[in-house]
Symmetry: C2
Subunit: 492 residues, 2 copies
Amino acid sequence: FDLLSPARAWCQAAAQKLPGGIGSKLCGRLVVEKKKTAIIYLLPALDGDLKTMTFLQEVVDILLAYITESFDRETKVIDFHYPNELLQRNNWELQDEPETLDDILISCRATLKYAIKTAHPRYFNQLSTGLDMVGLAADWLTSTANTNMFTYEVAPVFVLLEYVTLKKMREIIGWEDGRGDGIFSPGGAISNMYAMLLARFKMFPEVKEKGMSSVPRLAAFTSEHSHFSIKKGAAALGIGTESVICIKADESGKMIPADLERKILEAKQKGFVPFFVSATAGTTVYGAFDPLIAISDICKKYQVWFHVDGAWGGSLIMSRMHKWKLDGVERSVLKLTWNPHKMMAVPLQCSALLVREEGLMQNCNQMHACYLFQQDKHYDLSYDTGDKALQCGRHVDIFKLWLMWRAKGTIGFEAQIDKCLELSEYLYNKIKDREGYEMVFNGKPQHTNVCFWYLPPGMRYMEDKEEKKKRLHKVSICPHHVSFTRNKMAVL
Amino acid sequence: FDLLSPARAWCQAAAQKLPGGIGSKLCGRLVVEKKKTAIIYLLPALDGDLKTMTFLQEVVDILLAYITESFDRETKVIDFHYPNELLQRNNWELQDEPETLDDILISCRATLKYAIKTAHPRYFNQLSTGLDMVGLAADWLTSTANTNMFTYEVAPVFVLLEYVTLKKMREIIGWEDGRGDGIFSPGGAISNMYAMLLARFKMFPEVKEKGMSSVPRLAAFTSEHSHFSIKKGAAALGIGTESVICIKADESGKMIPADLERKILEAKQKGFVPFFVSATAGTTVYGAFDPLIAISDICKKYQVWFHVDGAWGGSLIMSRMHKWKLDGVERSVLKLTWNPHKMMAVPLQCSALLVREEGLMQNCNQMHACYLFQQDKHYDLSYDTGDKALQCGRHVDIFKLWLMWRAKGTIGFEAQIDKCLELSEYLYNKIKDREGYEMVFNGKPQHTNVCFWYLPPGMRYMEDKEEKKKRLHKVSICPHHVSFTRNKMAVL
């Protein structure tokens, strides 16, 4: 018993647990020939069960050890090497000949050795961090199920869970009976691109067939602090970045509604047709929430489609204490981007686009490919979600969110979000009067972003504000900001 | 020992194997309190190691049992229920209160119970099937690493592996020294959209800022058998589906070059500017390969950008026996879509866009977001791939392909592809003279698609071809086709 490897222990135990064939098959062949096990002996090889189970279990052992290490504060967050150096530290090349399973395990270890531990308590990077254990388990299951969201027949459960979850999200927004539509897409940038695409189609449905030449010159509006994906989307959709008009933000990063109205009028005078306003709920750097009610009033007045990019801040709607920051989202929004992979710490990627109008996505994107979306199936075809997407195949991103939601409950997400906001306020209070630090803007943070400048000693008492600003930008191009997305504390 | 659950056996063995803290910690607490284990005790809880390892191991046990079952020919491929029925067979709702870990395990089992077994030997669906064990292991590792492709600093190894793999793919295409660019994107539809976007930008770079109003009316060309994503892309990019001109295909589904030339001339006469030809290497239904050399000659003559959609058939370039079907791809292609998640059986999703010109993607898509793509980093910034993508965050799709490639070697992929093509020829020979079946087109299949009509007894000797065709379409809207993507055999 002393010499049992975890994999062999698993085999032995599995033999007692698993019903029928596989259990006894494993039990009967306990002596695992580990060295030089070639890939061809794995499943789907007829006799591949045992080798497969052993191999996968060894991979899992590596992963479990990595997870424990990742959460250990004493380990390094990253064993950093420059690209050229890293290329030379290991043989990463792809060759003609196959490797053994042992080599594959070595490759897995090497990959993790040089990976950055995103679950580490001291890991801070852009807007996603931590590793939720239920989310991880769900993602392992998703990989194992290895299917595609295009039709109900190839992903019955996942399509249903997407349906259930999107409905729940729409209920939380406050749309009547949770009615509407939506989709999980590969990231907030694509969700925002969908939003712009839908707004254009809603106003000018002929654009689908005839293109932009059938449409007057369009104008979209978003705050100067908004995410770059709005411009990127406009470039891709043939609208052009110059048609994205930036609205001034106030000192704390919120869009100024009066400037929006002024620029809508200006654009109209120049012959543009304003079609799309993207307000931001939680800007990337400041974490600011645009005033949604005032913006939606202006949108209504000028009949412009109103989108909220809540990729970062949308999750605050789960918190009874903080959801007022999104007031207005319920009564006027056409669409909302909401990325559970950020504030809700769902493994990457998980981004939802929620759409108020049923059928709009379908009409905008469908191409009726007969071999895929046959109209003579024996079930309710509204569950074949593929034709409303821009993608054909679509990765299953729903299960990790759904399973985490079951595990935490709505109140669990709420507690997690509240805690993160509490931590950012704690940091703000610690830093605002501290020697050598200067806040980027005054006032409590609205989201978990805490933005500050670090002032090197020689700059602390400079009088010339312009000169100071110039030199600060040499210390760092952007202001520092710390964002909390898990229950953890930044150490300054 | 009799009563050891796999999870407890693992703990015990791990204690002997894992170095330092975690091992002894696990060993010291072998009595696992399994019932009512709440989520809050999992990592990152300070004392969460043991519960986490136990929980994850239990999930892995469920997954391993599912895998074994999936490969067992005697099990059902799916326990099918209609959407409304499936909604009622289980409680899928999201609630306020958290569930216990035991409930979470029950949810995992229920999800798999109603999932379709895509790894099952008798599972056939659109263009992807099977579950590669090394690919699966790689995907589990990817989930565990939980990071994002936008910068080298958050995904050092994965960014390098993407670099290494894309270079290898370009070498295989035959581009000099493997030079060029590329990206892994969420599926072939998005890759094709990129291709169209790049072609437009290459011809009219001002479109990025000024939109389609600065550009003459464009025309794109693709075969009538091409994938619907070409039209979908044109609709999204503001080009319009009417600007996608369908070129006639011959009886076996290949684009007719003479018709392409005729329609390019026609479009020019009407004042359109031809900018993009998308040839298909492996059409979705027939598996036809467009004649790339002839098409590329026409593209050169009329200075139109030439793209090859090899989402389905691109992988044949790995086979010395079959790569002639892609002849022409090396000397003239601007871009190639190539989905290893199809023919190469990499878990979903894994789609590459390969671009010949370095810097083009960057210029087309970059938006210079300073908080993300700082220009003052201490490493070679060409490894920050985020700004050349349409996405901001991007899922790590590379590791599963890279690890499978290591495991199989180039010759392993070749053997797998050759075997699939051999199987389709076998099926073709079995079916072509069989009573009650009729081939959709004559001649050996070029790819693994074998297209046939099943003729019910009453229709077998019908003289009226039109009437027969009409009635056939009532049996099935599309012709049947069987595609092989793993070493398995269809049973008629």
